[in-house]
């Protein structure tokens, strides 16, 4: 019995919540669902990602080159190769971040339109 009461109470609550939400959406003309909440801070995050990605690739490449140089005794050639590879990798990473971001914002704008 208690179980039943609980179920009807929760159903009732669901129905009332839905009613309130619909009334709110009709009244204000906008969805109560948080679709673009924090959009600005997300952009800030993408900017920071790109900035660090540019450095990290170069550092990783140069470090690997330097260590390989110490190991093989080929100073400074592998450092140069590693630096160039690191630059390429950094550009690739930045490109990927930007590409993913564009895909995401395109998908978001399509959701908004429909």
């Amino acid at each position: 019995m208690a179980e039943d009461d609980r179920k009807t109470a929760s159903d009732d609550l669901d129905r009332r919540l839905k009613g309130v939400r619909q009334a709110y959406e009709a009244g204000t003309g906008r969805s109560s669902k948080p679709t673009n909440r924090g959009a600005g801070s997300e952009k800030l995050g993408v900017g920071m990602r790109i900035a660090v990605e540019m450095v990290a690739g170069v550092v990783a490449g140069a470090f690997i080159g330097l260590m390989a140089d110490y190991w093989l005794g080929t100073k400074p050639w592998l450092l140069i190769v590693g630096f160039i590879l690191g630059c390429c990798a950094a550009f690739l990473n930045v490109y990927r971040v930007a590409q993913a971001e564009e895909r995401r914002s395109k998908a978001a704008s399509e959701v908004k339109k429909s």
Binding site: R6, S10, L13, S41, L44, G45, M48, R49, V52, E53, V55, A56, G57, V59, A60, G61, I64, G82, L85, G86, C88, A89, A90, L92, N93
Partner: protein
């Protein structure tokens, strides 16, 4: 004026407990704040989970918010295959978040402003994700280093570049968190120094300081979010290749 970097100094708060390889290990202020973040996080989550009320109270709503936030993040970025790793990702997020936010308390210590801490966390994620990928896909995992559909003669250039790009992940992951936290706290300290030095005109930097503090709070939460979402993205790469 105190040096703006003084706040990052590690201090031993106890006598050395034991030593590893000649290094005396003691309880430091960094360790205390790590423990505080674990205690605060588990306290909050346990208080939220203990009641299990149908209509959540404040604390329960807060912990449910955390849970749903990470659950959605994993579902969106990794898919259903990522459900297994929810506990790890969730702990990572909560630990970083509490570390960043507790560091915003005056006289507090931000352990995420040390590259040793963030690089260690990034390395665990990096190695873990690589091992997961290797166990799941075997040698096929290495196809991650050669983009699908690229002409074969480009392999000598592309494979080293992809390899370096992959190895740069823990660096970018750790440097981002560490640099953001360090820079923010140095900025706060320098501006606070101006407030004292300018006397009555210190009101101007004080106003800026209030705004910067709010910004730092945003950055603290945002960096925890970015750290976690990147772990999800890396996990997705390892689970599904591309």
């Amino acid at each position: 004026m105190a040096s703006p970097l003084e706040q990052f100094a590690i201090q031993n708060l106890s006598a050395p407990l034991f030593s590893i390889g000649g290094h005396h290990i003691a309880v430091t202020n960094s360790a205390v704040f790590m423990m505080a973040s674990v205690v605060a996080a588990s306290g909050l989550l346990m208080a939220g989970a203990s009641k299990g009320a149908m209509v959540p109270g404040r604390i329960q709503a807060m912990s449910e918010l955390f849970y749903e936030f990470i659950a959605n993040m994993i579902r969106d970025n990794v898919g259903s295959a990522g459900k297994k790793y929810f506990p790890f990702i969730f702990s990572l997020f909560i630990f970083t978040l509490f570390g960043n936010v507790l560091g915003m308390i005056p006289y507090g210590f931000t352990f995420t402003s040390h590259i040793a801490v963030t690089f260690f966390m990034a390395m665990i994620v990096f190695l873990g994700v690589t091992l997961i990928g290797l166990f799941k896909h075997g040698l096929h995992f290495f196809s991650l280093f050669f983009p699908h559909g690229a002409p074969l003669f480009t392999a000598p250039i592309l494979i080293p570049i992809e390899l370096v790009s992959y190895l740069s992940r823990p660096i970018s992951l750790s440097v981002r968190l560490f640099a953001n936290m360090t820079v923010g706290h140095v900025l706060l300290k320098v501006l606070a120094g101006f407030v004292v030095a300018l006397g009555i005109f210190g009101v101007v930097p004080l106003a800026v300081l209030v705004a910067i503090t709010a910004l730092e709070l945003l950055v603290a939460v945002l960096q925890a979010y970015i750290f976690t979402i990147l772990c999800c993205i890396y996990l997705n790469d390892a689970l599904h290749l591309h």
